[in-house]
Symmetry: C2
Subunit: 439 residues, 2 copies
Amino acid sequence: MTTAVQMVQMIRQGETTAVGLVSAAFDKIAETNDALQAWAWLDRDAALAHAAALDSLRQSGRTMGPLHGVPVGLKDIIDTAAMPTACGSQPLAGRQPDADAFLVSRLRSAGAVVIGKTTTTAFAFMDPAATRNPHNYDYSPGGSSAGSAAAVAAGHVPVAVGTQTNGSVIRPASFCGVYAVKPSFGMISRDGVLRTSQTFDQVGVFANALEDAALVTDVLADFDPHDEGCFWRPRPQLCAGLASLRSQDPHFAWFDMPYFDRLAADAHAGLMDTVARLGNRVEQVSAPISFAELIEAHAVIQTYEIPRNLDRIRQEFGDIFPPELGKLMAHGATISDKAYDDAMQCRMAAIDYFASCFDKFDAVLTPAALGEAPLFSESITGNPICSTVWTLAGLPCVTLPLLRSAHEMPIGVQLVGAAEADDKLFGVANWLDGYLRQK
Amino acid sequence: MTTAVQMVQMIRQGETTAVGLVSAAFDKIAETNDALQAWAWLDRDAALAHAAALDSLRQSGRTMGPLHGVPVGLKDIIDTAAMPTACGSQPLAGRQPDADAFLVSRLRSAGAVVIGKTTTTAFAFMDPAATRNPHNYDYSPGGSSAGSAAAVAAGHVPVAVGTQTNGSVIRPASFCGVYAVKPSFGMISRDGVLRTSQTFDQVGVFANALEDAALVTDVLADFDPHDEGCFWRPRPQLCAGLASLRSQDPHFAWFDMPYFDRLAADAHAGLMDTVARLGNRVEQVSAPISFAELIEAHAVIQTYEIPRNLDRIRQEFGDIFPPELGKLMAHGATISDKAYDDAMQCRMAAIDYFASCFDKFDAVLTPAALGEAPLFSESITGNPICSTVWTLAGLPCVTLPLLRSAHEMPIGVQLVGAAEADDKLFGVANWLDGYLRQK
């Protein structure tokens, strides 16, 4: 599959045009999307018109952006002024935002062509969407960024944008066999993205190559005073981090997580094989914090915040929430402010611990999911628990599609870096990707 | 004087700190600002606290922005949430905006330290400010970006931001002997900048080196959907343009402008000497449009728009406008919609002409001002006419401090490029600067 980096290069060398790339994307979508259901909205005419405008800029000698002509998909909880944004909810079908999300402006000024909106579970929670897994239609792509993961895995688009509140970027990427990054908390503005949890909602990127994930994240990552979680400090440059040469092999930390007894046998075996191949580059680290407590704290914070944020939807549209989300909405109201405050304290302790421990190693090596994707017939999106601790602490995470299940389904290997050191994480990820792909 | 590029390099190499740079800036300001009056507001404590935060990021190994630790001044019509923004008007003293202008966010995320607000003429019009010219206090620095030009020329800060509606960046830069750029219309967002004319208001940058002007413009230039004049296309990269190697010498166009009979004798002689040194690299071009008509069209549009935009101020604060602006406010109300529409048509014809003519040459060579700065005692800000046509057409302009008057006051040489080809213009400017500084 052609990467975004290759597409831009091909346009630069006159080997293709933005119209050519966008047409090809729609041809590919026409072949498989009836079965896959990766898209909630597509607008071929608008995308081709945008591509034609980019081609005419190119012909007039104007500057090309870093994503000039690249077709991109956006999870359908990201506001677009030119397309509806239904948040995966039938009652919101046709809802037309007034303005683009901040990140859409970033894509536009980089020259990307937003060709449509990708399927999301309703309100980005855990009730499954209609999307299928491109590797085997009997399987689910996971969630909540189901369509973004599937559209990239199916080669409809080289890159797509999703969001993660627990494991909604890393998990579907693992299930669908693509690369994905959930950058440090505060790197990418969430202005104009459906808010479910102000503490955990984060934007992430799916791609078929690490360099594409780096390129798109570099474009999206920018300070936006309209998102109070967005930090004003300079952004680590992921493309530069990816390209940086290492003077020595990286050093990985391995934490024994309380959920490892739930790893599928094939996923466990694959990870152990990976650890064995890395030899003394991996060190088992024991943390002076309880990961089980952190996972519980994440649940408390998320369950407290989601109903309070979605109450706006309830007031406007009524009780339109699907079963899993409905249960959480009801439960959330019973969580006390005290319990929430305690959980936030617990989160701060985790942030403090992770702020100091990364001087002893370069990245945490850990599973991206408990195993292969669930079957579509199970009507679940899979367990996000392999992401919970890292999301809680706001650390940058990347998943690499390096393992296979006994059924030949993809399984990801996750790397976690120090906060706001996403550039370094990408350097380590590039090393690991190259090392493990050697015969 | 140390440039911004050098400052960032010094921090990178551990030779200084952000606190060191900001302290030095305030020491320099203390020496001369009582006489110069370049600053409308300074906040030493806040600037040092910001610098200390940047130093601690640096020490913790976090990413450095392209302007890490660089002290910057902002014309006092640019909104800052942390400092008053009085627009050069006593009745607005202490006015505290709710939010930073878009460009302030850009500076902040690049690591710059906004140390204060620079003096502006009232509402950026032509009634002079109290600021003096650093080269000789008997002279005016020009206007309206008086303090930004003077603060850079005096070495208080390496770079400062101003605005231009007619000639308010290029003219004071010429008078004060510094470099300045007024980029293509739509490159830099004006969100949060006092609006006087939606058609002409543009943000510009003052510096003591071309590379600093390029660096700051690259930081500021970004798409912002909140400014309807801001284009969504990728920004030309000025630093890259500056560094690009030319395969052949540039080709300059010389237009005979209707105001050349008003050039001071020394300015005229300096320009003619420059043209002579460039030999056959300069070609006289005759345009199929009337520049006199364009200058008249600019006056009509500006005079129509300014009173309508400033009416908000009048409603809130009453009739607080100084004499020159007061006259314009009164006159503006008499301009008919028809006259305005005709002038806008005339502007479109100019844009059309300049869209095609730059394939025959690389840049227009033209004066930045009619001569040296006016005397302070004249109580004028100087004639902006050398900028009018280029501002009208939204073309990128840069002024180089290459000439001297008979009184040893600075005079600038202006280069004008094709719309949205600011990168190429900077390559040409760099060539000319190097060529004319050869013995």
